[in-house]
């Protein structure tokens, strides 16, 4: 099934949700959906007879770094609207079609529903996204750091674009 058909199907199934196909980018279209409806849609994607997305190929967090300068009432410049996104690449082994999903959440409250219960392999991917971007996956059974040390500085997420390497870790100098 092509992406358009899948979208149509999704739209039929979830009439009230915002499901946008984003193919303004030239190479690969993906579907933007709402972060909070993710599990339902994913479950539908996995279980529907004509979709059967049985594997999650990849899940990646992205720091969109798309803040725009806004002036508030007092005239101070503020950066706003920066989002973190999560991309899901799904694949159906039985029907051999693919789909990419994207959800975006504001950086102030980066909360996404976990899909760990739908595709088991999301577990570590989500932990990694949490570790690297600080995206919080709700209902994840064990959302702790995975690659970085457990005692790494709280709130310091290395793959965010504004990350700065701390000077010391456990008494060891980090920068060269």
């Amino acid at each position: 099934m092509s992406v358009e058909e899948i979208i149509q199907k999704l739209k039929d199934k979830f009439p009230h949700s915002e499901i946008i196909i984003d193919n303004e980018l030239p190479v690969e279209p993906f579907v933007v959906i709402n972060a909070l409806e993710l599990p339902q849609i994913c479950k539908f994607l996995r279980d529907d007879e004509s979709l059967l997305f049985d594997t999650l190929m990849n899940l990646s967090g992205v720091d969109d770094n798309n803040a725009t300068k806004v002036k508030d009432e007092e005239g101070n410049e503020k950066l706003e609207g920066r989002t973190l996104s999560v991309y899901y690449h799904l694949h159906s082994m039985k029907l051999d079609h693919k789909l990419a999903l994207k959800v975006s959440v504001p950086i102030e409250k980066p909360e996404v529903e976990s899909v760990e219960s739908i595709w088991k392999c999301a577990d570590w991917h989500e932990r990694e996204a949490f570790d690297m971007y600080g995206i919080i996956f709700l209902n994840h059974p064990n959302l702790i750091r995975i690659l970085m040390p457990y005692d790494w500085e709280e709130g310091s997420y290395p793959l965010r674009k504004d990350f700065e390497t701390p000077e010391f870790y456990n008494g060891m100098k980090i920068p060269y």
């Binding site: 190479v27 190929m57 990849n58 990646s60 992205v62 392999c121």
Partner: protein, 371 residues
């Protein structure tokens, strides 16, 4: 059990002879029985993705080498294909052929290490050295062509760093010829050995449905009986021109999807790789390998997810480009990372010794898990 044995927490690794690097496993034991395995990762986290964001596109290639350092060529290939698709460029035939041969040789080399270290895990040291001696031949071939033994930086975006060495074809043919009897020897020495079979058959059975749900790919998935190989099912490069089989696990000595199947599947895959090499080696067309290498790689804005069949499984690159010289985001779907997730599930209820067996049969590379 008459007396409830107390639970004991045993650390395996990061320095442990058989955790294949710096994996740390925290075992919850009840006597010798494993209740739970908690893998702790990140002991080799080298910030690959951060580096990508600071590099230009060609500069990323050496770093991809260092992910799955046992299969650098395949990593290069995956990255090159991804960026090429992002750029939308055509690759000369010759390059494609050489790439396929290289990737298949690399697959053999990688499987050799997997099988050899697996032997060591089970306690047989000799096969390991035999396989390493064979592997050395592949490395010599690679070295002659691109100058490095392990981390090649050979497959570039749009081409190759060097043309093949004049001796390449002959040496590869020699290798292929000599290697076949060695496979038989390996089988006799290790694969069919009763002790080995007893150690591995029916250990760590991975049923097909669980495998799919966990996103397992590569030999581990095929060992569970699913005929799924990206080279056939989602062909990239020129794999659709070659004739080869996808071996699947059959549970010859135990249940389908057990450790022995995973082990033996790699042996079979080596045979298939040889088949591909044999078909490709004589048909390398002439041409210039660097004709399509762009001077300045500046892909358009966009994102792409491309996957290739690495020796360990499906290697995916997800690249977002913002139209500048540096990638905006590179995310690697490392096969070992995903394959490792099912580990705990496989280990439950086995003995301590089986943990090693299972870990070895999954064949993980820490550089890829931690990146």
């Amino acid at each position: 059990m008459a007396i409830k044995t107390e639970e004991m927490v045993l650390n395996m690794g990061p320095q442990h002879p058989s955790t294949h690097g710096v994996l740390r496993l925290e075992l919850e034991l009840e006597g010798e029985l494993v209740l739970n395995v908690i893998p702790h990762l990140g002991y080799l986290h080298r910030c690959f993705e951060k580096h990508c964001e600071a590099m230009t596109y060609p500069q990323v290639v050496p770093y991809t080498d260092r992910m799955d350092y046992l299969a650098s060529m395949s990593n290069n290939l995956g990255y090159a294909i991804t960026v090429e698709r992002l750029l939308g460029i055509e690759i000369p035939e010759r390059v494609e052929y050489i790439r396929v041969i290289m990737a298949e040789l690399q697959r053999i080399a990688s499987h050799m290490v997997a099988l050899g270290t697996y032997g060591v895990d089970i306690g047989a040291f000799t096969p390991f050295l035999f396989l390493f001696a064979e592997r050395e031949k592949i490395l010599t071939i690679f070295e002659e062509t691109c100058g490095a033994r392990l981390l090649y930086n050979y497959i570039w975006v749009g081409g190759l760093s060097h043309d093949i060495h004049p001796d390449f074809v002959r040496k590869t043919k020699d290798f292929v010829r000599d290697f076949k009897p060695r496979i038989t020897e390996l089988n006799n020495l290790l694969s069919y050995n009763k002790i080995f079979v007893e150690r591995t058959a029916n250990i760590g059975i991975l049923p097909a449905d669980v495998a799919i749900n966990y996103g397992i790919t590569g030999p581990n998935l095929r060992a569970s009986g699913i005929k799924w190989d990206l080279r056939k099912n989602d062909p990239y490069s020129i794999y659709d021109r070659f004739e080869f089989d996808i071996p699947v696990g059959e549970g010859l000595y135990g249940t389908t999807g057990d450790s022995w199947d995973r082990y033996y599947l790699r042996v079979l895959e080596m045979e298939q790789s040889i088949k591909i090499i044999e078909q490709a080696i004589d048909n390398i067309p002439d041409g210039d390998v660097q004709s399509a290498v762009p001077k300045r790689i500046k892909p358009p804005k966009g994102s792409i997810y491309t996957r290739v069949e690495n020796p360990k499984g499906e290697l995916g690159y997800f690249i977002i480009s913002d139209g500048s010289l540096n990638p905006f985001r590179v995310k690697v779907r490392a096969p070992s990372f995903v394959n490792m997730e099912v580990f705990n599930e496989l280990c439950k209820g086995h003995f301590v010794a089986d943990i090693i067996t299972i870990l070895g049969s999954i064949d993980v590379v820490l550089g890829e898990i931690d990146r």
